[in-house]
Symmetry: C2
Subunit: 347 residues, 2 copies
């Protein structure tokens, strides 16, 4: 008997743009599936900025995150101009979310893609690299940004990638870096990879220079399994891989720290379609599925995942995937209802 004692407090943020719509759809599915969660809502993003808090997040929000240690986050917007730092990056760094885990899977033939056999996971370093946020003006005409790579940072992420592979039945870890040019920084990443791989002899390993690796990813994604790479390369290749599956709107992600974990869609807040009720909630929903596994409600996670797969297989998709749709494209909430109807079904 799983009672209230099992219930896990989580923090949620409804975000900006399409955020509130896809969060509503996601929560409806979670509730219908019987997820044992007690959500605590925080305000972050645009409204907070506009209220005069230039950090975009209030102290109480940090308190909630540090208390629940589990965060389901809708996309947020950083207002342009001014001295705003990306709030996404601030959250990842403040909470020490060092591993950004981004599965990219094809759902062909149900979602149109040129790459029907993709099934890979990008493990992106999430705190260092050019995201360190150290940038300065030398003269009017000369600007600098610092790329920072540390040994502990490399060790944590590379170890995470191999542990992930081991615990998820993955067979190969590919490292990508540009150490023919950045011999010290990217060179360190590669070196640490070569050290740590020795501790996982059952897992195949390989390294590509990022340009060649990205080219192979864009043409033969099915040859990859787990990819581990520094922050900025990970940012670029995870958008590439997600889009190649048919839509960036289908990819959820986990941002994992020592203590705290955050779950989000990899797409942005899409202000152009906000408020229309047409956004695809799948990215956030699949992030929530990852969250449920994290809080040890794997049974509910697979119930939702199966229902979602069945929904897609039944040709039910939102507007951006209209080309693959059976009949008219579904709105965000109708899509959620379609998933809910299929809870308990297998794909």
């Amino acid at each position: 008997d799983r009672g209230a004692a099992d219930t896990v407090a989580i923090t949620i943020a409804h975000g900006d743009g399409i955020g509130p719509e896809i969060m509503e759809a996601t929560l409806k599915v979670l509730q219908a599936a019987g997820a044992r969660i007690a959500p605590e809502t925080i305000e972050i993003g645009e409204k907070v900025y506009l209220s005069g808090n230039s950090a975009g997040i209030a102290p109480e929000a940090w308190d909630s995150l540090r208390k629940t240690q589990v965060f389901l986050k809708a996309p947020i917007t950083t207002p342009s101009g001014g001295g705003y730092k990306s709030l996404n990056v601030t959250i990842r760094k403040t909470l020490g979310l060092y591993a950004n885990v981004r599965p990219c899977v094809s759902y062909a033939p149900f979602v149109a893609t040129k790459h029907p056999k993709m099934d890979l996971v990008i493990v992106r370093e999430n705190e260092e690299d050019l995201y360190a946020g150290i940038e300065h003006r030398q003269t009017d005409e000369v600007f600098q940004c610092l790329k920072l790579i540390t040994r502990p940072g490399c060790e944590k992420i590379v170890r995470y990638a191999f542990e992930y592979a081991r615990n998820n039945g993955r067979k190969k870890v590919t490292c990508m870096s540009k150490d023919n040019i950045m011999k010290m920084t990217d060179g360190l990443f590669h070196k640490v990879f070569d050290e740590i791989k020795l501790q996982y002899p059952e897992i195949e390993s390989e390294h590509f220079i990022i340009d060649i690796g990205a080219a192979k990813l864009a043409t033969r994604p099915e040859r990859f399994d787990v990819i581990v790479t520094p922050n900025l390369y990970g940012d670029i290749i995870s958008d590439i891989a997600a889009e190649m599956t048919g839509s960036v709107g289908l990819a959820g992600s986990a941002n994992i720290g020592e203590h705290i974990a955050m779950f989000e869609a990899i797409h942005g807040s899409a202000p152009d379609i906000a408020g229309k009720g047409i956004a695809n909630p799948s990215g956030l929903l699949l992030a929530a599925v990852m969250m449920l596994v994290h809080i040890r409600q794997a049974d509910i996670a697979s119930k939702i995942h199966n229902a979602w797969l069945k929904t897609i297989e039944d040709g039910i998709v939102t507007a951006e995937l209209a080309a693959s749709a059976v009949g008219r494209p579904f709105g965000s909430m109708d899509f959620a209802d379609a998933v809910i109807e299929r809870l308990g079904q297998l794909p």
Copy 2:
């Protein structure tokens, strides 16, 4: 009457790995086509390193380059380990070759590709960014690399991209940078783009954050025309785009400076297949075609280009494209002979 007076002195380097083979094939075609060039050979790369010159290039070589101002270069290898800097980068920076121009074109159905309608040119900044080569050790565990972006550097490359578009009948220039994170450095690149585009009102312009731009490139390359981007992004997306056309072995490139210009394949020296006579000379040959246009022998350039297209259309390809081949794949020199046989023919 075009006599010897027309002949242009150029510098050539046979390079490492497959370099000598593809250079031989390329020169044979140039000669047969009547290119009015007087090649002067320099030694650079592996042999020079191994002879104890840690720069990989001797003073006489620089003299030749500064004299002829035109360089046809086969791929070279930088030995691994030690303090070797990339000789490719040294040459680009020493000679002030600020624009790396990389056309990526599909030759479907003659070369198999999932993207039959690609026809784009990447104009990659070639001197700045993380390629500035400023890297240092802070502690045993902390390393830094400096990303350097200057206004004159941005202005030169952005202007080059728009001039290129104007002079080559291209309709759109797309800028890609990551200025939501690097507001000063990549922000400057974007800002300069927004300034200079106003001077080319007849050319459409747009900007993408590099992650989204690269994702669009990997899924809908046919929507791009000219892309201008900082050095490292250009490195990554040009390998992606070239490989998406069917083979990175088909792409030539021009490295353009104020005074000097260098022409090379975008692929590397492929030591694994060196000496076998099977490498595809097309990348270097198409680079040579770009060189001929540069030295105002456009008639010869299109004669070779047409013969090369006809060769490809006749199903004649080298080993790496064997899947598209009619009969057995051709060796490097046989491929060159096939091109030569077709000089004067149209595709």
